[in-house]
């Protein structure tokens, strides 16, 4: 085969039966070079893409805040990346999710597209959300899950929440707000994660929450410029003036041309990032009108929510009813629902060091798992769970995460906030 013309012409394919070691080594270098080239490419492309911060006329903090608050951009659509790293114990997240599901619809046996359980979902890990907004009346938020989707559409007095994994939808009529917002307000008062249960799904919401909630106790400054999703933006740095907060800094990127907040990054005093919400792609064009049209898919299980009903009461009622109807040990969940109505959470202090306090429901019996639903497989007793997760401190048990600290006093009171332990102990009157 050595003297064949085709082989001679195609010399690189090597017709020579016996090769030197050197040639073998040279050939082995090719895949290594290819791998190195690809690795360099992967390393370099983001570095090249992250171009230098844009040159923008310098503005004062007030001007940037005003720009953000006075933003008249009515419509936008885009993709948002939400990364949360709250350092929550995973067992806690699971329990909170189970509690949410249980108080929402009486146990995991009835699947539904409950917005409030989904918000808890946002607390763990990285999520991609597609948003489309056209004025205050029409919004669409789509949570992209693995091989599944969760969509909330609000159009005028209609709102839908749709979950593909369970093929179920919730239909809200006559409520001007988005179901997601109801979920936040009617959230889980006792779940330790409650103060953060309203994890913002758009940079707008997040920025506006921070900007309006933090007047007085806060220093706001402009920390240079940045490019977010192809738009020039001012970086607004928001820091607490009070000590005792676990939050170190909130950075909000405000679009230079129309004032829309494009990114929000929350850092702890320790410097680690706990929340990073930013647009990866955004357009301010008016979204297609049919984006906001939603009809219940054929064959989907639809839960109707009557007009005018107070959403929180409705949800709780559902929970109690569901528990009774099932009568399968979901009594604990029912008791939870009632208990939380009796012990409304109170807020001590204000600004960054606000502490939420409530009383644990007495005699909340753990729903013993009867294999009915995955959420009931684990007995849920707040006290026991807290003791197993937390560490004993003066006056009770402390459950500590990157941001939120929760103190359970021995007499069954709960104090939670994005604050350090001494602030919690002070609020509890321990020392």
């Amino acid at each position: 085969m050595t003297n064949d013309t085709a082989v001679a012409a195609d010399a690189e394919s090597g017709g020579v039966p016996y090769r030197s070691r050197r040639r073998m080594l040279v050939r082995a270098g090719v895949p290594i070079a290819v791998a190195a080239a690809i690795a360099t490419g992967i390393g370099l492309v983001p570095a090249l893409a992250a171009d230098s911060p844009p040159d923008l006329p310098s503005l004062t903090a007030e001007q940037v805040v005003a720009k953000a608050l006075g933003s008249d951009a009515q419509s936008l659509s885009g993709t948002v990346s939400v990364a949360t790293d709250l350092g929550l114990p995973t067992a806690l997240l699971g329990a909170a999710g189970g509690l949410g599901a249980a108080s929402g619809h009486g146990g995991g046996s009835s699947a539904s597209a409950d917005p409030q359980a989904k918000l808890l979902d946002l607390l763990g890990g990285d999520r991609t959300v597609r948003v489309a907004v056209d004025g205050p009346d029409r919004q669409r938020v789509e949570l992209l899950e693995d091989s599944a989707g969760y969509t909330v559409v609000h159009n005028g007095d209609q709102a839908w929440a749709w979950e593909s994994a369970t093929n179920s939808a919730e239909h809200f009529t006559g409520q001007p707000g988005r179901p997601g917002e109801h979920g936040e307000h009617g959230g889980l008062p006792k779940a330790p994660a409650a103060p953060l249960a309203g994890a913002p799904t758009t940079p707008q919401e997040a920025a506006q929450q921070f900007l309006s909630a933090s007047a007085g106790s806060t220093t706001v400054s402009v920390a240079g410029t940045a490019r977010v999703a192809g738009h020039d933006a001012y970086q607004l740095s928001v820091k607490p003036t009070q000590s005792g907060s676990t939050l170190g800094e909130v950075r909000i990127a405000v679009a230079a041309d129309n004032g829309v907040p494009l990114a929000v990054v929350v850092k702890t005093t320790g410097g680690s990032t706990v929340l990073d919400v930013h647009f990866t792609e955004v357009s301010f064009a008016k979204p297609d009108a049919k984006t906001f049209d939603f009809t219940a898919p054929k064959g989907a299980k639809v839960t109707e929510h009557a007009a005018g009903a107070e959403p929180k009461g409705a949800a709780k009622g559902d929970g109690a009813k569901g528990a009774e109807a099932k009568g399968d040990g979901a009594k604990g969940a029912g008791a939870e629902g009632h208990g939380s109505e009796v012990n409304r959470p109170q807020v001590i202090g204000e600004g960054w060091t606000a502490v939420v306090t409530t009383k644990l429901p007495g005699g909340a019996e753990a729903p013993q798992g009867e294999g009915k639903g995955k959420h009931q497989a684990k007995p849920f007793n707040p006290q026991t769970l807290a003791k197993s997760l937390g560490k004993p401190v003066d006056g009770g048990t402390l459950i500590s995460t990157k941001v939120v600290n929760v103190l359970l006093t021995d007499d069954g009171r709960v104090f939670a906030g994005a604050v350090t332990l001494p602030v919690l102990q002070h609020a509890a009157g321990v020392n």
Binding site: V7, P31, L144, A148, K374
Partner: protein
């Protein structure tokens, strides 16, 4: 691999027309002849047909199981898209692909790709192949392309079988996408074809890996086992959240992203990442297979 099997497949290869001496034309037509023979070798083999048969049975099995359990409540557990399948037979395609993609498809691809060179080496036919003036590079390219064709064939078999089973067992009609929008059946079938194409391409990196493993050993069984074992190992690694830093670079990491095609509008980010990753694996392991195959002594 039985000897009789191989010798049967070898007959057409030996009878292939001699390659003309001219460089450009000779390269192309010689490659085509090689490729055709390679295809024949793969698809005439009883083993390949059995594998495709298993792939065809899988959607039927899933369909029957889902059909029998239509009334029992499901709360989002089970394979992806299972909730939609009961409403619409088209979704059986996506359920079947979601079930087949992590295990069955890679297994069959691993068997075919792993056997490509090592099998011939074990059967003693490799040196006869190399006597033909085709050159090792082209032979390797032909084997790689045949492997890709097998990926496509496997995916298409799953898709068509699922479509047929879905049409028999469940109603067909308007399709509800996972974003909640509804599209007509006419729009849904091109999406299914697109999904099948993406799934087939998702396996291209594995073909390159299998081919490389195949050039390392003279035993077909060893190469197949190593490739399939590698698939399983990498998938297990992909399940560890602690390995977040490397997971996006594991070849099965974005496999399930084909579900993003079932949103309105389609979401391409993860699919493009998947295809880019596969291209990188093809480049690295393809060149590694080339380096090994063209510089090794073929004694069997």
């Amino acid at each position: 691999m039985s000897r009789a099997d191989v010798s049967r497949a070898e007959v057409p290869r030996a009878a292939a027309p001699p390659v003309p001496a001219g460089r450009g034309r000779g390269t192309a037509s010689g490659y085509l002849a090689l490729f055709r023979n390679e295809l024949r070798l793969v698809f005439r083999r009883l083993r390949t047909r059995v594998l495709l048969g298993i792939l065809a049975l899988l959607p039927v099995l899933i369909g029957v199981v889902v059909k029998l359990n239509t009334d029992s409540p499901h709360d989002g557990r089970g394979p992806s898209f299972i909730a939609q399948t009961t409403q619409n037979g088209v979704f059986l395609i996506f359920t079947a692909l979601a079930v087949a993609l992590p295990v069955f498809l890679p297994m069959t691809v691993g068997v075919v790709a792993g056997d490509a060179v090592a099998g011939e080496s074990a059967a003693g036919t490799l040196r006869y192949l190399l006597v033909a003036p085709a050159g090792r590079t082209r032979l390797l390219a032909a084997k790689f392309t045949a492997g890709l064709v097998f990926c496509l064939a496997g995916t298409v078999v799953v898709t068509l079988s699922a479509l047929a089973a879905g049409a028999v067992l469940f109603p067909l009609g308007d399709v509800t996408l996972i974003s909640g929008d509804t599209i007509g059946l006419v729009d849904a079938l091109p999406r299914a074809a697109l999904v099948a194409a993406v799934v087939a391409l998702s396996l291209s990196g594995l073909v390159a890996i299998g081919l490389f493993v195949s050039t390392l050993t003279g035993s077909g069984i060893a190469a197949m086992a190593a490739t399939v074992g590698l698939v399983i190992t990498v998938q297990i690694l992909d399940g560890f959240p602690q390995l977040d830093a490397i997971r996006p670079f594991l070849f099965p990491h974005y496999w399930m992203s084909f579900g993003d095609l079932l949103r309105a509008p389609m979401y391409w980010d993860n699919i493009l990442k998947d295809l880019g990753l596969q291209a990188a694996y093809v480049a690295v392991f393809g060149s590694a297979a080339w380096a090994r195959f063209t510089s090794r002594d073929i004694s069997a």
